[in-house]
């Protein structure tokens, strides 16, 4: 399963890098990438512009989408396993609302003039601050209950969306910029963006994989998992923070992209079962493929670019209804 998905992902990257205004064959794409990595010169017969388009324009965007998709899916696995709730997703603790608030604030005071990274930075700080407020709000006596976590996330997110509404109200003509950022985009992402998300993705994957078996045991509930030798409270806290930091990095780079983190773990659980040691790597690959597919669709197939967050929700929503319905009917039979 992992090998199959890895091959599909590789193929998708090669195909996607060739698609767009300039059509380039997958073979040429592979040759360009190889030339860049090995430092050799481009083979004769390949337009140097192609090299620039593939390596400097399309690949950074493609790899950012791949890594964000994979990371959101892994974060989704983590949140669903920790909160014991299949409806949880990377945004359940309000991380996305925090990031959105931070970014809106940065856009309102027009801080983007200082640096291109100031909006992502504000988004990241907003997301992390929200995470700690939610954790503080949910913890009683040092314990974090799953339902109080979910409830705290909902409360804080509701307050923040009111705040975002207020910022939009203040923003006047800037409001379009804010709305556009909130809907998410991979347009004009660069190699530094790739590096940033790569760090988060690798850390998230490794840590999630390390705790894979503990996560399985935690599905039995805290009393049982404690008695089986898992330090449930500590593991839960570590993984919530890791999952949220990974999500915060993704959101600050790409805006809010929904449904990938919710649907991918479900889809993969159908195929490989609930064992998190299999689910984590497989979800990473599937999330990467799905988001790359959606971004390629909006970049190169549709007549004009639809915001990626809107597209994933438009495709993901009905699809989720289908899965949900099938599961319900399956439970009846």
């Amino acid at each position: 399963m992992i090998t199959t998905l890895s091959l599909v992902l590789l193929l998708a990257i090669l195909l996607s890098a060739g698609m767009g205004y300039l059509a380039i064959t997958p073979l040429e794409v592979a040759q360009i990438i190889w030339a860049r990595i090995s430092g050799a010169s481009l083979p004769a017969g390949i337009d140097p512009t192609f090299g620039y388009v593939v390596w400097d324009v399309r690949l950074p965007r493609i790899l950012t989408a791949v890594l964000v998709g994979g990371s959101l899916a892994v974060a989704g696995v983590l949140f669903q396993a920790i909160l014991l709730n299949p409806l949880a997703d990377p945004y359940t603790l309000g991380v996305s609302s925090g990031a959105a608030f931070g970014a809106s604030l940065a856009l309102l005071i027009n801080i983007a003039f200082i640096s291109v990274y100031s909006v992502p930075l504000f988004a990241f700080v907003g997301a992390v601050a929200t995470l700690f407020v939610v954790l503080a709000l949910a913890s009683v006596d040092g314990r974090l209950g799953t339902s109080s976590l979910i409830l705290s996330g909902v409360i804080v997110a509701a307050i923040l969306s009111a705040g975002i509404g207020f910022i939009k109200h203040l923003a006047d003509e800037q409001v379009a910029v804010i709305i556009f950022w909130l809907m998410g985009s991979f347009a004009s992402r660069t190699w530094p963006h790739v590096g940033l998300v790569l760090g988060a993705a690798v850390a998230g994957l490794l840590i999630a994989f390390y705790y894979g078996r503990d996560l399985n045991i935690m599905a039995l509930g805290q009393r049982s998992s404690d008695s089986l030798g898992v330090d449930t409270a500590r593991t839960r806290k570590i993984l919530l923070v890791v999952g949220s930091l990974v999500t915060a990095t993704c959101v600050s780079v790409s805006g809010i992209i929904g449904f990938i983190g919710l649907i991918t773990p479900h889809l993969m659980r159908f195929i490989v079962g609930p064992d998190n040691r299999k689910l984590v790597p497989v979800s990473f690959l599937a999330g990467a493929i799905l988001l790359l597919g959606a971004d390629t669709l909006t970049r190169a197939v549709l007549p004009s670019e639809v915001p990626i967050g809107v597209l994933t929700a438009l495709i993901g929503g009905p699809f989720f209804c289908y899965i949900f319905r099938r599961k319900q009917l399956h439970a009846l039979s």
Binding site: A81, I217, G221, L228, G229
Partner: protein
């Protein structure tokens, strides 16, 4: 030296004192029953003994060492728990859940060894759930689920097995099955501590009874010494008779179900 010993432990939820000065000791090869009305502190006492909560006063030692000095995995190799309530977030198979009992014995990135598989299989056989191995936990009946949870705790292969009203939702056949398996563990040198509501079940299986009343240990000893009409009337407020029963070869209690008409 007792395996597990609590010395004058107390616990309070905020202002409300739920346990006062409870002392007890558990020794190998004995079946212990923890009895008492609802709200008498049974679950809190078990929580303290499995290190889920820390006592406000007093001390607990496991094999002569302070309980708090054990790591979670170390503790999980010494005692297993069969909880009363059991929920499962995801669709694991029965075999996978039972194998989870081996978690504290398997190093982090290792796969289960032959011994792990053999112990899981034997636990499933003991509780008669082998045939369910590939079924999903979510597709089982309440009784089947509880037997799988008991099999998981048995597969953990610990000296001490703690049962928290483990058979409260089971029919009589499966209740007796689980208690017989627990009894066999005791005959083999293990220790069982079971919180039990059914006094007759406790009297039939336990070597020693701890009777809690309003957070204090009211009495401790052999079932026929403790479960006498005067004591039961004092703790539970119910009139009863107690006598050795020839049919089931144990001390049994007969309750007055209805108020006597004049």
């Amino acid at each position: 030296m007792p395996f597990l010993e609590a010395r004058r432990i107390s616990y309070a939820y905020g202002e409300r004192q739920v346990l006062r000065d409870v002392s007890l000791a558990l020794k190998s090869g004995r079946f212990y029953g923890l009895l008492g009305p609802n709200g008498s502190g049974k679950t809190t006492l078990l929580d303290l003994l499995i290190a889920n909560r820390q006592p406000a006063a007093g001390a607990i030692s496991l094999q002569g060492r302070e309980l708090g000095s054990y790591s979670r995995p170390d503790l999980a190799r010494q005692m297993a728990l069969v909880p009363q309530e059991f929920g499962l977030g995801f669709d694991f198979q029965v075999g996978e859940v039972v194998l989870m009992g081996r978690h504290p014995h398997i190093p982090r990135f290792a796969t289960p060894g032959l011994k792990d598989l053999a112990l899981s299989r034997r636990a499933m056989a003991d509780l008669g759930v082998e045939h369910l191995q590939e079924r999903l936990m979510t597709a089982l009946s309440g009784g089947e689920k509880q037997r799988v949870v008991a099999a998981r705790a048995l597969a953990q292969d610990t000296p001490l097995l703690i049962m928290d009203e483990a058979t409260a939702n089971l029919d009589i056949q499966h209740t007796i099955q689980i208690f017989q398996v627990a009894r066999r563990k005791v005959e083999a040198g293990g220790i069982v501590l079971a919180a039990i509501h059914d006094l007759n079940l406790a009297a039939a299986f336990c070597d020693e009874i701890f009777l809690l009343k309003e957070g204090a240990l009211r009495a401790a000893g052999r079932p026929e010494e403790i479960l006498v009409p005067a004591m039961i009337a004092e703790v539970y407020g119910i009139p009863c008779q107690a006598a050795f029963n020839d049919f089931n070869h144990s001390h049994q209690i007969s309750f007055q179900w209805q108020q006597q008409r004049p």
